[in-house]
């Protein structure tokens, strides 16, 4: 989806449609919560819509120990509450602080934007994109949306900052943003780079097979050498005492 902040008027229809689609209790909410999978926050005169970014290389998917989170080819990052063990690593790791946890439940799950996966399967748009009256949110293929975003920026360079947020931030996201002001002023974390976050842990995890194989051989070798040394020392000691004369010495 492409979200053009210059077109958003803050009518909150997207949140209403989202709540209806996901059967959440109605009522305007300013922040993401268990009952708001998308929310508008206001920065000066601008409204910015938050939701799951549905990253191309999702951090949450990479950290989940039981693969309860998965990235579909069509875009959505889906969650399976039946697999989830409740370790909450996804809450800790998500660079956008998206997943929300059912803390008050004794069988808690996480809640977040589902990218209206059932609607996409039926060939429909996500509820928020369909509801948006001004075209601030449009839905389409990611490649086409990137072209459209680039066209808008080059057509009116004074209106936009020359950046499509989500094009390659944290490895690229399904949500793309255009803004008239730098994204750092809109509460976006400026410290997130272009490298997908899972690469950070993969650099450590990829060494696991090496540690196992090299370490195993090395420890085995050290055991063999030190064991041999003990044996030799014991043999020499016994020889010096003359307790066990070498068999070859006997005529």
């Amino acid at each position: 989806m492409l979200i053009d902040l210059t077109l958003c008027v803050g009518c909150n229809v997207c949140q209403g449609a989202c709540k209806e689609e996901n059967q959440l209790p109605p009522g305007e909410e300013k922040y993401l919560s268990l009952t708001a999978y998308t929310a508008l926050s206001k920065y000066n005169d601008l409204y910015i819509r938050r939701m799951c970014q549905h990253c191309d290389v999702p951090t949450c998917v990479s950290v989940c120990p039981v693969a309860a989170l998965s990235k579909a080819d069509a875009g959505p990052v889906a969650y399976d509450g039946e697999k989830c063990i409740g370790c909450r690593y996804c809450l800790q790791a998500c660079p956008y602080h998206v997943p929300k946890y059912e803390w008050s439940s004794t069988k808690p799950r996480i809640q977040k934007c589902k990218f209206c996966a059932p609607r996409l399967a039926k060939g429909l748009q996500p509820a928020c994109a369909e509801a948006c009256p001004t075209g601030a949110t449009i839905f389409g293929e990611r490649d086409e949306l990137l072209l459209e975003a680039a066209r808008r920026v080059s057509a009116e360079p004074t209106k936009y900052v020359p950046r499509i947020y989500g094009k390659d931030d944290v490895g690229g996201t399904s949500m793309l943003y255009l803004s008239p002001v730098p994204f750092e002023q809109l509460g976006f974390d400026a410290r997130l780079g272009k490298i997908p976050m899972p690469m950070l842990t993969m650099s450590a995890l990829s060494k696991v097979p090496n540690v196992l194989s090299v370490g195993g051989v090395m420890l085995g070798g050290i055991w063999w050498i030190t064991n041999r040394r003990t044996e030799v020392a014991a043999f020499e000691a016994s020889e010096q005492k003359g307790e066990t004369p070498r068999p070859e010495d006997k005529p």
Partner: protein, 400 residues
């Protein structure tokens, strides 16, 4: 320095019973009302005191693999008397951590899922596998002590037959998950404070666990030798202390070099909550004990060693708690303080661990001279050596 010589906690039994009872009640509350009502965890702060406790428990149980490696793989046989205490410490430590992890999980009924649902990209998945496997290895290493007590000797033979690959596997698993606890935080460069976040986290976690594990076992050997004989002669204790000093120095150099290289030392020039926490852990856990342990008189004195190793353990605890809690309070800016129920569960489990330790020590030969155990790998004194070896060494002996 006015440290009372090895203070003994009096009235341990009533204290432990109270703590365990309070912890049990807190755990019942946690299961009845859920995490939200009983903890101060939130969407912004999903991991708290219990994760810090896990780091602590695992780190202090590191003696289980360091001492086993030293004695059985590197053949430093003179340290044999502390192998059993080390294995027991590790075994209890890991059991406690597994207990806390199950309490901490949102869905404790799903705790077995990592066994069948894998995600090789997840550090958490690797850790849960290492924990399960290493706890099994520890059980096998610990089993002979129990079996011996009940005079069931036949399984011991089997365990001894596979002991070498088992020990190597155990050491490797420990290396992996001790460092992986640091890797957990590699993925939150934007959240963890710069004084703690570094790509070297796994390396630093591994180095520091070596020091804390050995300190813990030295501490135990000092505490439990009050009854009569020393578990380790002064010379060997001093040697271990020297090893700790070297590890502390290594850690300090790597950590400080890394801070300088990444420019994070700027954070230290101002007095903040974070810089104070950093100074506290570095001074208490690394600098001061290093300063103490390089002095030979301290290494040879029980009181000095007691103080130094206690500082290493406390500083280590600060380091882990800072990584798990303090460092994460920077972004989004917030404060977290554990709820009473979180604290009671942690204290209860700690008390359970100490009680289990003293119970086992009372009933199993842990701190006693090694009784004659069936050994598969006897050092073959009269074995026929290979001819090459014989001539060479025989010659050397004759010429000398």
């Amino acid at each position: 320095m006015k440290i009372r010589l090895l203070p003994r906690i009096t009235r341990w039994h009533p204290i432990a019973t109270t703590l365990i009872l309070a912890g049990t009640l807190a755990a019942i509350a946690r299961f009845t009302y859920g995490l939200g009502a009983t903890t101060n965890l939130s969407d912004e702060f999903p991991w708290g005191l219990w994760i810090g406790f896990d780091f602590l428990g695992i780190g202090l149980a590191a003696s289980g693999f360091t001492i086993v490696a030293a004695v059985h793989l590197f053949h430093a046989k003179e340290y044999e008397p502390i192998v059993r205490p080390a294995i027991l410490t590790a075994f209890i430590g890991y059991m406690l951590v597994v207990l806390v992890l199950i309490l901490d999980l949102g869905r404790p009924d799903h705790f077995w899922h990592p066994l069948v649902m894998w995600n090789p990209h997840s550090v958490m998945c690797e850790i849960s596998w290492c924990l399960m496997l290493y706890t099994s290895v520890l059980s096998l290493e610990f089993a002979p002590i129990v079996l011996e007590r009940f005079n069931i000797l036949w399984p011991i033979k089997w365990i001894h037959a596979i002991s070498l690959p088992l020990m190597i596997f155990g050491v490797l698993l420990s290396t992996l998950h001790q460092s992986s606890f640091g890797s957990l935080y590699l993925i939150v460069p934007n959240r963890l404070h710069a004084l703690w976040y570094t790509p070297l986290l796994p390396v630093l976690f591994f180095i520091s666990c070596l020091a804390s594990g050995i300190s813990m076992i030295l501490l135990e050997s000092l505490v439990f030798s009050r009854g009569g004989r020393d578990l380790l002669p002064t010379r060997l204790r001093a040697n271990l202390a020297k090893v700790i000093a070297v590890i502390l120095a290594l850690y300090f150099v790597v950590r400080v070099e890394n801070l300088l290289a990444r420019g994070a030392w700027h954070e230290l020039t101002t007095v903040t909550y974070f810089s104070l926490a950093f100074y506290a852990e570095m001074l208490i856990g690394f600098v001061i004990p290093f300063g103490l342990l390089v002095v030979e008189r301290v290494r040879n004195s029980r009181r000095g060693l007691y103080a130094a190793t206690l500082m290493v353990v406390v500083g280590f605890a600060l380091n882990r708690m800072n990584t798990a809690i303090t460092g994460l309070e920077s972004y989004p800016a917030q404060t977290y303080f554990p709820s009473l129920i979180e604290i009671f569960i942690m204290l209860g489990i700690t008390a359970l661990g100490f009680s289990a330790f003293s119970f086992v020590v009372k009933h199993l030969p842990i701190f006693e001279p090694v009784v004659a155990t069936p050994r598969v790998r006897q050092v073959a004194v009269t074995a026929r050596p290979e001819p090459v070896f014989l001539t060479r060494h025989g010659g050397d002996l004759e010429s000398s």
